[in-house]
């Protein structure tokens, strides 16, 4: 009976997740205090909590500036990625023209673009946004392209039969709605990569605030490892929040027509 009750409690949403997180924090505290015993290498969760109490006032500003850089990059990345992906996916000639350049530029890591961004954009928010754009653009482009390439031909034929013959109308009323789930997936991946690029973007002091700026320009040179790890955790939490918000508004609301026709709940 007791065992069944325990299993029933554990099956409740969030219980196992909470236990897992708690055990991780406890284990971390024990390892840092009794095994590593060097806060310069591995600060304890408690010291990170104290670090938060010490600098909580600057955290909202840093998150805000990083979100600004992120917003610039994602906005430009989504706009250009969807347009270019759409054109490449629909018009074969555009695909043949753009494909070599895309395949050469795509593997270049965003960090390698930083000197270029600073030389051309200066130490401005736009230079930081450009690095995020580089990270986000290609996943959105590829997923948009794939979505367009996989449009069911039956829908195109049916649309033509019903009088929709112009290319732009076929794109607008058939291909684009059909590709939206793929585009949304690309945007979600692009958001993840783009957020990871925020730190690289802020590495070289393009702004006086920002999570990446504070991490590399302040905490690391000054050996404030507890604050450094605190900001790493904040980076992860903000990314989680952005992802959850995106999924709520896009998958729960925009794509609620998929419920019942796909296996995802």
């Amino acid at each position: 009976m007791k065992r069944n009750r325990l299993i029933s409690i554990l099956n409740n949403r969030g219980i196992i997740e909470a236990i897992s997180l708690s055990l991780t924090i406890i284990l971390w505290e024990l390892v840092s205090n009794f095994i590593v015993r060097n806060p310069g290498k591995l600060p304890s969760p408690y010291s990170i909590l104290l670090a938060f109490c010490d600098i909580w006032e600057i955290i909202p500003l840093d998150i805000g500036i990083s979100l600004l850089h992120f917003g610039i990059g994602i906005g430009a990345g989504a706009a250009m990625g969807i347009i270019v992906g759409m054109l490449m996916g629909w018009f074969r000639i555009v695909d043949r023209i753009m494909d070599p350049m895309v395949e050469i530029l795509r593997p270049i890591p965003p960090l390698a673009w930083v000197p270029f961004a600073i030389l051309w954009g200066g130490l401005t928010h736009y230079a930081a946004g450009f690095i995020v754009f580089i990270g986000a653009f290609f996943p959105i482009l590829i997923n948009t392209y794939t979505g367009f390439r996989e449009v069911d031909k039956t829908y195109i034929d049916a649309a033509r039969v019903l009088g929709c013959r112009e290319e732009w109308k076929l794109i607008k009323f058939i291909a684009l709605p059909f590709s939206l789930p793929s585009i949304a997936t690309g945007i979600r991946i692009g958001m993840g990569v783009g957020w990871m690029c925020v730190v690289a973007a802020e590495l070289f002091g393009v702004s006086k605030s920002g999570l990446g700026y504070r991490l590399f320009q302040v905490f690391w040179p000054l050996h404030m490892i507890d604050k450094l790890i605190l900001y790493m955790i904040i980076l992860g939490l903000v990314a989680l929040l952005l992802d959850r918000l995106f999924r709520y508004f896009v998958e729960e609301k925009l794509f609620k027509w998929k419920r019942g026709i796909v296996i995802a709940k």
Partner: protein
């Protein structure tokens, strides 16, 4: 289960013994330095083989030196146990020692020697520090000498370093590129960078660091606490070799410039020679002359929140070995030699990984996975 527990305990014991008893002999001496004419003493001693010759009798078979773009990353490496000796500004050790680095300054290396360079247009109109308001200035990262002196000087002149001037942390190469391409309005860097920029017509020096803070401490010789406690004679010889190299450079400045140009690849020797003529710095070795200004840096760092406590002379310096080398009798109430650190050495990540692997194995066997 008992068998696994006993194996685990044995492994922990072995790891502990290996760590505590670990090799106390120094076969390889690891030196850190930066690409600045401030630290040519290290380069001279290395190129002429003086480190190898002088330290061989202490069992040191191999000497390595590693270049760092500035002091803060050099201190990170020393905190990670990768360096035994560092040629570094006196400011970076302040934040590192505050965060637990076991090391002491045993000799000085140079005083002054940095300069604020503005782009030509701005330099022509420069009249006072107030003209720097709204500008972007690249300098070494927070915690470095240059960052500390620049911020102190700006504050002394009524400017808020956080609001009125955009100070960007960078290495010398990046900072030079940034002023040459107009990304920043100015740089505050140690020699030979200011001269390199001037000779490329990309900027003009407006203020020398010696004007900002007369006779300020710049680079020093920082040695790990373990080396000082366990091998004091070795450290005394390091100090002697450093003194000899410093005296040699003072007497052979042109050759010192050539040694620098060979060490730091891609540097134009003529620019280095010109830099040594133009700078306001001096190559020195007496640690006593750096104590007062270093304590000022410690106060500035504490007030800016870079350190948790206000560090003292005892925390930062150990001049006893230098005094012994120079035959100076200790003054009353002198700092006692470097004490043992209060924390014990850590078992290290290798032991941690072994223990973690064994725990995973025990769990897997226990639940028959």
């Amino acid at each position: 289960m008992k068998k696994y527990v006993s194996v685990l305990l044995t492994l922990i014991l072995i790891s502990g013994i290996i760590t505590v008893c670990g090799a106390s002999e120094i076969k390889t001496l690891r030196i850190g330095y930066q690409p600045s004419t401030h630290q040519i003493a290290e380069m001279t001693a290395m190129e002429k083989g003086w480190w190898t010759r002088d330290l061989a009798k202490f069992g040191v078979e191999n000497i390595t030196d590693t270049e760092f773009s500035s002091g803060p990353p050099e201190m990170t490496a020393m905190m990670a146990g990768e360096l035994d000796v560092a040629y570094v500004g006196t400011a970076p050790p302040i934040t590192a020692i505050d965060k637990g680095l076991d090391a002491k300054i045993v000799a000085s290396v140079n005083t002054n020697g940095s300069a604020l360079v503005l782009s030509p247009g701005l330099a022509a109109n420069y009249t006072s520090p107030a003209d720097l308001k709204g500008l972007k200035i690249a300098t070494f990262p927070p915690g470095s000498i240059q960052d500390t002196i620049l911020k102190k000087w700006l504050k002394d002149n009524g400017l808020d370093p956080g609001r009125d001037v955009h100070i960007i942390g960078a290495g010398p190469g990046e900072a030079i590129t940034e002023i040459m391409t107009g990304v920043v309005d100015g740089v505050f860097l140690p020699a030979p960078s200011p001269t390199i920029i001037e000779m490329a017509d990309a900027g003009k020096t407006v203020v020398y660091s010696g004007e900002m803070f007369p006779n300020h401490a710049c680079c020093c010789l920082l040695v790990s606490g373990r080396l000082i406690r366990e091998h004091p004679e070795l450290v005394k010889q390091i100090i002697r070799t450093h003194i000899n190299a410093t005296r040699y450079n003072n007497e052979h400045k042109e050759e010192a410039a050539e040694i620098y140009a060979r060490k730091v690849r891609g540097t134009d020797v003529e620019k280095v020679k010109e830099s040594i003529k133009r700078w306001d710095g001096a190559w020195v070795y007496d640690p006593h002359i750096e104590i007062n200004s270093t304590l000022v840096y410690a106060k500035v760092d504490y007030e800016m929140g870079y350190t948790n406590k206000l560090l003292t002379e005892e925390d930062l310096f150990d001049t006893s070995l230098y005094d012994e080398v120079m035959g100076i009798a200790p003054a009353p109430g002198t700092v006692s030699p470097t004490p043992q650190p209060t924390s014990q050495p850590t078992p290290g990540f290798t032991s941690l990984l072994v223990i973690a692997a064994l725990l995973v194995y025990i769990v897997l066997r226990r639940f028959k996975i």
